[in-house]
């Protein structure tokens, strides 16, 4: 059913029509905001402990990265986000779902001069994830606005409810940061955590900079697990940890020539 719904949309190109018709119908006046009774209006707010920034960013100190840490990062992330692990069920590479994963320097930075690379960089894998670009091509590619960049803090997010599985975003992302659920993810999740939803078959997913944790005043799971190798903060705040680090250390970003302006920096 899921697939038929998605392929239908893909073929018919009705997505825009559907969304607009739907929002037209239900969006006339959100009854919810007209209150059920009484004069007071219901409203939404954020928790006081929520962490805020105007542009979240991350600095990865590659000098502190080793294989074990890489694994730890991924585990921390994938576990709390109910990311399925299809290994053993299906080994097809395209079935793999990953939010943060280790890769070799030459793959992470294909445009960098890699001759006579320090053996440290040559042999260590670096963690890569969604770059939460300032100019994200995936957002432009999405026909239903399921992928969007949050105005308030610059995080590139996915609204899974809206994703129709067209995978335009995957084609648009230069970093391969997105995965598609070719299979039902639930059987491949060891322990389903009820603090985060799973996804359904036919939906794209990726790193969300732990937006749900930031809202609770917690750092991203990978940062927490990184033993100081990953530093997280507001790129627009000159006094933030990330900015301080970037002041001191030379850092590079992935595929800078594409003009996407990643928010993830690598100190090499």
């Amino acid at each position: 059913m899921e697939n038929s719904r998605r392929s239908f949309l893909k073929i018919a190109g009705l997505s825009v029509l559907g969304v607009s018709a739907g929002s037209m119908l239900i969006g006339v006046t959100p009854r919810l905001l007209r209150a059920s009774d009484g004069d007071a209006q219901p409203k939404f707010t954020s928790r006081p402990e929520a962490m805020t920034a105007t542009r979240w960013g991350m600095v990865i100190d590659t000098r502190k990265i080793d294989h074990d840490l890489n694994m730890k990062l991924q585990e921390a992330c994938h576990e709390i986000h109910n990311v399925p692990d299809h290994v053993g069920i299906s080994n097809a590479p395209r079935h793999e779902i990953k939010w943060i994963w280790p890769t070799e320097f030459k793959h992470a930075f294909p445009n960098q001069e890699a001759q006579f690379l320090s053996s440290r960089l040559e042999h260590t894998e670096l963690p890569v994830l969604c770059n939460h670009c300032e100019n994200p091509p995936c957002v432009q590619a999405c026909p239903t606005k399921a992928t969007f960049k949050r105005d308030s803090d610059g995080i590139v997010l996915m609204d899974f409810h809206r994703c129709i599985g067209c995978r335009f975003c995957m084609a648009a992302c230069p970093y391969g940061a997105r995965s598609f659920n070719f299979r039902d993810p639930r059987p491949a999740i060891k322990t389903i955590r009820d603090t985060f939803p799973t996804r359904s078959k036919g939906v794209v997913e990726k790193c969300n900079f732990c937006a749900e944790r930031l809202a609770q005043g917690k750092l991203p799971a990978c940062v927490e697990a990184s033993e100081g190798a990953l530093i997280f903060g507001d790129l627009n705040d000159p006094g933030s940890d990330v900015r301080k680090l970037l002041d001191e250390q030379f850092a590079i970003r992935r595929k800078p020539n594409l003009g996407t302006f990643p928010s993830v920096f690598y100190i090499v």
Binding site: M1, R5, G18, V19, A21, G22, L25, I26, V28, R31
Partner: protein, 338 residues
Amino acid sequence: MNAAYLYSLIAVVVLGLIAYAGVEAAGLDGLFGLVIPYVALLIFIIGFANRMLDWARSAVPFRIPTTSGQQKSLPWIKHAKLDNPTTTGGVIGRMLLEVLLFRSLFMNNRVGFRQVGDSQRIAYKWVIWLWLFGILFHYSFLTVVIRHLRFFMEPTPLLISGLERVDGMLQVGLPGLFISGVVLFAAATMLLLRRIVLPRLRYISMPADYFPLLLIIGIAVTGLFMRYYTKVDISRIKELTMGLATFRPAIPEGEIGGLFYVHLFFVLLLLAYIPFSKLMHMGGVFLSPTRNMANNSRIKRHINPWNHPVKTHTYEEYEDDFREKMIEAGLPVEKEPK
């Protein structure tokens, strides 16, 4: 009757108000929720059967199919088995294409004038709109009707929940948008606008053409409103409808709302209206002799039940009239003159 639609619009609005006021002001929930449904259903069944049997009572004296393809003739000439059927199978095929796909409407074209040099020429353009709106209208209506069976069956059959899933596959909004409802509303509105906007169509349209369309639009609008906007408690509604479907009619406790009764009243009006209106085309299409007969009267003799003898001019009478002249011209005659 250029303002014919006004009569029908007023009629529909008044009827809607009657149901609304009847329930909200006069508290006639029982009348609108329990009595009228059974009455309307009875009117429909009896009226529909009556109409069909009335048609059945009339004779079919001749085989008069409209042939829209090559006849069956010499074996090396390709016979159009569906458009000019000679067998029952062919007729069934032709009828199915007609009833399920509206084939005749599909080949509709429009006449217009084209300037060639200093004079005009007639030109024809294939137009698909009537077919498109027609088929969208009918199929979305059918889907909506079948979907509503969930209110009359417990447990809801898988087939119906399956249809709901397909109908709701856009998964837009909450409650999930059903494509059929929106399409029904849009197609019915287009069919109505067509009648109002196109001068030729406005000229041939009568109140009886606008009334059912407006009634159906009324049904669609009240339905869409209840589902997406004002909201109703559908558990209670199902309690009411299940009461009807199990012959234990009762008005459930608690508020259902006047809008629901307007919706229901419109539906029942439509149901009761069918046997007395052009909407009988749903049954009549199967009885149309130009489509439901095979073109085989040269192959197999068709019997006219009222075939009566007529006065003819026999050869004998003819020869009596012209015998002399015939003999003179050397034509053979049966009887020599005395």
